[in-house]
Point group: C2
Chain length 209, copies 2
């Protein structure tokens, strides 16, 4: 085969990640993947032990990137006030979800996993969602003057995080709301909106100590 510079395994893995995110695991055949990856049908079974193994490998790849997103969101606000950290956290996520970076497919995979859980959800929860919630709760707790495990704080964190997911309704959004474009300016406007909305929401639960 006239392979490129890339190893077959890597080509299959990357192609599968893209297709799984686009169409969902069930709507992608191993023949689709291998054809687009310029690989033989047997490659999936040889390198990943089967379609399920391939999906697991894709999810592990995705989890790695998601963890780095969490870190980036945390680093962006390092040394700032709680308000500043929340603002930086939101801006990082909006930026990555709307695809200014190049890893949009990952968020679609995550959305599918939440809507339609597979065994891989356990990994996602432990390595991605829990750390995010923990950081978010810490920041929000500081803003609200409450404890991080306060039920009010947890609910606020969910309210913040859930707003990101509306950004992924790619097909529906442009038809029900103005905008939906992802120019740097509008992305920044969305981030600013979620920040302001969430800050006001959280402060409404503020408790004087």
């Amino acid at each position: 085969m006239v392979t490129g510079d890339q190893e077959t395994r890597e080509r299959v893995l990357n192609t599968a990640a893209r297709l799984f995110a686009e169409r969902g695991v069930e709507r992608v055949t191993v023949r689709d993947i291998c054809q687009q990856a310029h690989a033989n049908v047997a490659a999936v079974n040889y390198h990943f032990g089967g379609k399920d193994g391939l999906y697991t490998a894709v999810m592990e790849l995705a989890i790695g990137v998601m963890r780095s997103t969490t870190e980036a969101a945390r680093d962006a606000g390092a040394g700032q006030s709680a308000e500043g950290r929340l603002r930086a956290y939101i801006a990082t996520f909006v930026d990555r979800v709307t695809g200014s970076g190049r890893d949009t497919w990952i968020h679609h995979l995550l959305m599918r996993e939440l809507a339609d859980p597979t065994p891989a959800l356990t990994l996602v929860v432990e390595q991605v969602l829990k750390p995010r919630m923990e950081y978010l709760c810490g920041t929000i707790a500081e803003i609200a003057g409450r404890l991080p495990d306060d039920a009010v704080v947890v609910r606020c964190a969910l309210s913040v995080q859930s707003q990101f997911h509306a950004l992924l309704w790619n097909q529906a959004l442009p038809r029900i709301a103005t905008g939906g474009d992802t120019t740097p300016a509008s992305v920044a406007a969305i981030a600013e909106h979620i920040t302001a909305f969430s800050l006001a929401g959280v402060r409404g639960f503020a408790q004087s100590r």
Copy 2:
């Protein structure tokens, strides 16, 4: 056949609705549906013209219920202030999504349709999502002292609506957050949280006229 009181067509339709919502269309076979509905495999093709036709029929059924939910959410706040209307709207939705009523499956179908659009999305957008956004924007506009088509108002409406969807992360939620129970008390607490959070968020964008 020892059918019950229900006609075969109805049994197949209801069984399919439940299974499609639970597992997703791709992970449900016609044989699954017919077995659970105590019907012959050919029933799907005879009554609905095929699996696709069955899915369309299920979505039409779901859209009917969703429209009635929209009306119920609107009626619940009739004659009240804008704040009261928003509170009633949110309470109605939280109630239906968490399944105190019996139509939870519909929201799972909607979530799947947003994550993984099919041709049926067009119907959902026109007959369900647009009317909801319109009503929500009207209410929020009044609270914020802005016009209903103001971009700020539209974004606020999306922020409100998106919070409902976190309630549907059935598998993931109990593992990342405390609660997740659906006792009447906690459902009311969730509704109250989203209301307070959203009201504060919207008021932050209030414009003195």
